[in-house]
């Protein structure tokens, strides 16, 4: 019980109040993230509204199989993250640490597949800001460039968020190692899990908008 009291920081009266405040703070941060990605989704919506046919054609150039596998990988990583959260709250640190490692690995698998896709698109000449000559033969090439610029911007920002999520979880792995009491790790894992699931939600929308516009 004394350990529980030590876990309460000075500005809070009780552990429960502190948990509420921590969770609320994380959700407010996630709301700002919704708006950060929201601006890009707005740009996508406007350009697709005015260029529906080109967006459909451009979508067909993406690797649907890799995108679908990546969606499954990310959904699986969300499951292992949720299970890690479940186990650390049940007091089972060993399982929680294993599941955290698995979550990080799945995140890295996602990034590897994404990197493979980027490479494939590079060799097809579809990266407007890297390839010297943008390869497009279906007309309205400047509109197709818009699609690919949005694709690389939005999936790139998502990949950056995922990479930071992997870093965050790695830090959690190491600072949890020596701890015998679980009050602080429990809260940290809960908040990290919220971030991880948020990044998953962003992908859940990126996937149909870019890969399934066919």
């Amino acid at each position: 019980m004394k350990e529980a009291q030590n876990a309460v920081r000075m500005q809070f009266e009780a552990l429960d109040q502190q948990k509420q405040a921590d969770t609320l703070g994380m959700w407010i941060f996630l709301a700002t993230e919704v708006l950060f990605f929201g601006g890009m989704f707005m740009a996508y919506a406007a350009y697709r509204w005015f260029n529906p046919d080109v967006f459909v054609l451009a979508s067909k150039e993406l690797n649907l199989l890799a995108g679908s596998i990546n969606t499954a990988v990310l959904l699986s990583s969300s499951l292992t993250m949720a299970l890690a959260d479940h186990f650390i709250h049940a007091g089972n640190k060993t399982n929680a640490q294993r599941l955290l490692t698995l979550t990080i690995s799945l995140g890295l698998v996602f990034l590897l597949i994404k990197g493979y896709e980027y490479h494939e698109e590079y060799s097809h000449g579809l990266i407007p800001f890297i390839n010297d000559q943008f390869q497009w033969e279906h007309g309205q090439a400047d509109r197709a460039e818009l699609f690919f610029n949005l694709y690389f911007l939005m999936t790139g920002m998502h990949a950056l968020h995922l990479f930071l999520g992997c870093c965050l979880l790695t830090v959690m792995l190491f600072i949890n190692r020596g701890r015998r009491t679980l009050f602080r790790p429990q809260m940290r894992i809960k908040l990290s899990a919220l971030y991880w699931h948020f990044v998953d939600v962003v992908w859940v929308f990126l996937f149909p908008l870019f890969y399934l516009a066919r």
Partner: protein, 95 residues
């Protein structure tokens, strides 16, 4: 834990459904269907993985706030774009 596994199974089922639906020519319905499925997936993730189903009202309001502002951004922008005359719209669609 059973709830988490069931959520995961439902998410994978929805993923298969949305990929399968993309092969059916639904024309104008293709986008609403895929976005509808994405919204269902998001609801599952937020309710069970992010534990909003047992969160306090205050937390739920904070979670809804981001989406509310996003809805304002999208609806006010499209209150312009959606009602432009074709000749004005072509300013955007043709170089």
């Amino acid at each position: 834990m059973r709830k988490l596994l069931l959520t995961y199974a439902a998410l994978l089922a929805l993923l298969s459904l949305t990929v399968a639906a993309s092969f059916i020519p639904l024309d104008t319905w293709s986008l609403p269907v895929s976005l509808g499925i994405a919204t269902a997936k998001t609801a599952l993730i937020m309710a069970f993985f992010m534990q909003l189903s047992r969160a306090s009202t205050l937390t739920r309001v904070a979670a809804a706030a981001g989406f509310l502002w996003l809805a304002i951004l999208l609806s006010l922008s499209f209150s312009d774009y959606a009602f432009r005359e074709p000749e004005n719209a072509s300013y955007h669609s043709n170089p």
